[in-house]
Amino acid sequence: MPDFDPDASSPSTAWLKRAFTGADSTNARKTVTFGDAAAVRSLPLWSFLSFVLLMAIWYVVKIGGDDGILNDRTFASQKDTWDAFLLLASEGYRNITLWEHTSASLSRVGQGMLWGTVLGVPIGLAMGLSSKLRGFFDAPVELFRPIPPLALLPLFILWFGLGDKSARNLLIFASIWIMIIAARAGVRTVNLSKIRAAYSLGASKPQILWRVILPNALPEIFTGFRVAVGVSWGTLVAAELLGTSTGLGSMIFQARNFFRIDVIIVGVIIIALLGVLMDIGVRFLEAKLIPWRGKG
């Protein structure tokens, strides 16, 4: 490390200091640091510390088991939760394995997002390209968009019955408005110069739609997709509490009826982990598919 020693600490502990303070060679000579928001990033060491702290709190409140700060009817210990996870993974809860619950939930989100995107993006593009279609679709979009999808669950159960179909259609409803608005916003970001250049280069209308407008709108569409996945996941788990016999939400609801706190906690942790994984997945796709985003 030539030329870098922010605080003249010995080289052997320099890495530790960096991990704690985030000081690096680009920021070392800055005198104004508080308020330099662009230089703020997430230090992994501190994330690790907060995780350890959470686990420690969980451990402390369960010292003494049922006689601890939280009794067994309120919260399960780490060991009980882990045992419940192993049992769920191998035998399942009430004859349905954890894997079956998880894949049921994931497939519902996948189908909801697929149809929400396939139907929503073309409508959004059309709204961005034509004043007539913009006017035509504005009424339903503005009316339906503010409805929390779960408010419609009783109706969907009446129309589509308990099970996959209701859940899937509810997720289409949850995602389609987000995708429409994202695609519409994406069209609006197109620079008129690009369209004119494409016409001058001999492109036809379909070519301009497919090769200029759509790729130009991709960053916005991706932002919408990420939001919609998050909303869908949250909506689904809640919908499964009532509407289905499989899925992580359903598993949690059934466990509640039998006071299986350990099973509930396993379900909640898996829901959280999958939510994080999906977000990482979408961000990874974004980096692969639209590397130009936010540059130039």
Partner: protein, 266 residues
């Protein structure tokens, strides 16, 4: 080479709750094929409007523009366009940007490749084919824009302040490139600029335009673009003849600006 003509071209914009704006009034010219015309004038003189009419992006409210005797009705591949910035396709790399025109016309891949390689070489971007647009400097991006517009082999190249966003040094280099391309291809070029020096240096013909209504105020035939062939640009721009013309055009534009100020003050 086809001649580019304007006959009695007028353009009136209707302004909601206001007087209609005469962006152009009675514009007439005949530009012989293969010449380099620069359009210069204060803002509001209609130079970009005129360029957009020549490109076919705008239809004039009166009169007509023709290329080779044929009336211009809309955008076409016989007229390539270079914009100031933001017109390249960020989702494509340099090579695919240049290949865009031929590709839209269904030219097959094997035939496109040599066209693209040749053009990248011409604009000095050999070896940059697989770079993304956001990886390039402003000057290099404009080189890509030039190559892309040449790929369809247009008769006319229209440029809307193509060097306006570049720093002074890059701008001088790019002026040299534009002159080189003009000479090598023999194409007709119409270039809009804010810079008096650029208009004089590049144009072998220059229209100084005036506002309210937008019109061609003075037309010059200039020797500098030809002279630049055997002369250093700095030397040329420092020559007595160049400086004299520059002062003449500058005072012309100053007068216009002062009239506008007077008009607005009243």
């Amino acid at each position: 080479m086809k001649d580019l003509s304007a006959k009695n071209v007028g353009m009136i914009y209707d302004v909601p709750k206001g007087e209609p704006v005469h962006a152009l009034e009675d514009v007439n010219f005949d530009l012989r094929g293969g010449r380099l015309l620069t359009l210069l004038g204060p803002s509001g003189c209609g130079k970009t409007t005129l360029l957009n009419i020549l490109a076919g992006f705008l239809a004039p409210t009166s009169g007509e523009v023709t290329l080779g005797g044929e009336r211009i009705e809309g955008p076409g591949q016989d007229r390539g366009m270079v914009f100031q910035q933001g017109a390249l396709f960020e989702w494509l790399n340099v090579e695919h940007n240049v290949a865009f025109g031929p590709k839209m016309n269904g030219v097959n891949k094997e035939a496109i490749k040599p066209i693209v390689d040749d053009l990248l070489n011409t604009v000095g971007l050999s070896g940059f084919g697989d770079k993304h647009i956001y990886e390039l400097s402003g000057g290099m991006q404009q080189r890509v824009a030039l190559a892309r517009c040449l790929a369809n082999d247009p008769d006319v190249i229209l440029m809307d302040e193509p060097l306006g966003a570049l720093d002074a040094l890059t701008r001088e280099k790019m002026q040299g490139l534009i002159l080189k391309l003009w000479r090598e291809t023999g194409k007709t070029v119409v270039l809009v600029t804010h810079s008096v020096e650029e208009a004089l240096y590049l144009g072998d013909r220059l229209f100084v335009m005036a506002p309210r209504p937008g019109r061609i105020d003075r037309s010059y035939d200039l020797p500098f673009a030809e002279a630049a062939l055997g002369m250093e640009p700095r030397e040329l721009k420092a020559s007595a003849e160049f400086i004299e013309k520059r002062e003449e055009v500058l005072s012309l534009i100053w007068e216009m600006e002062e009239q506008i100020m007077g008009h607005e003050g009243a």
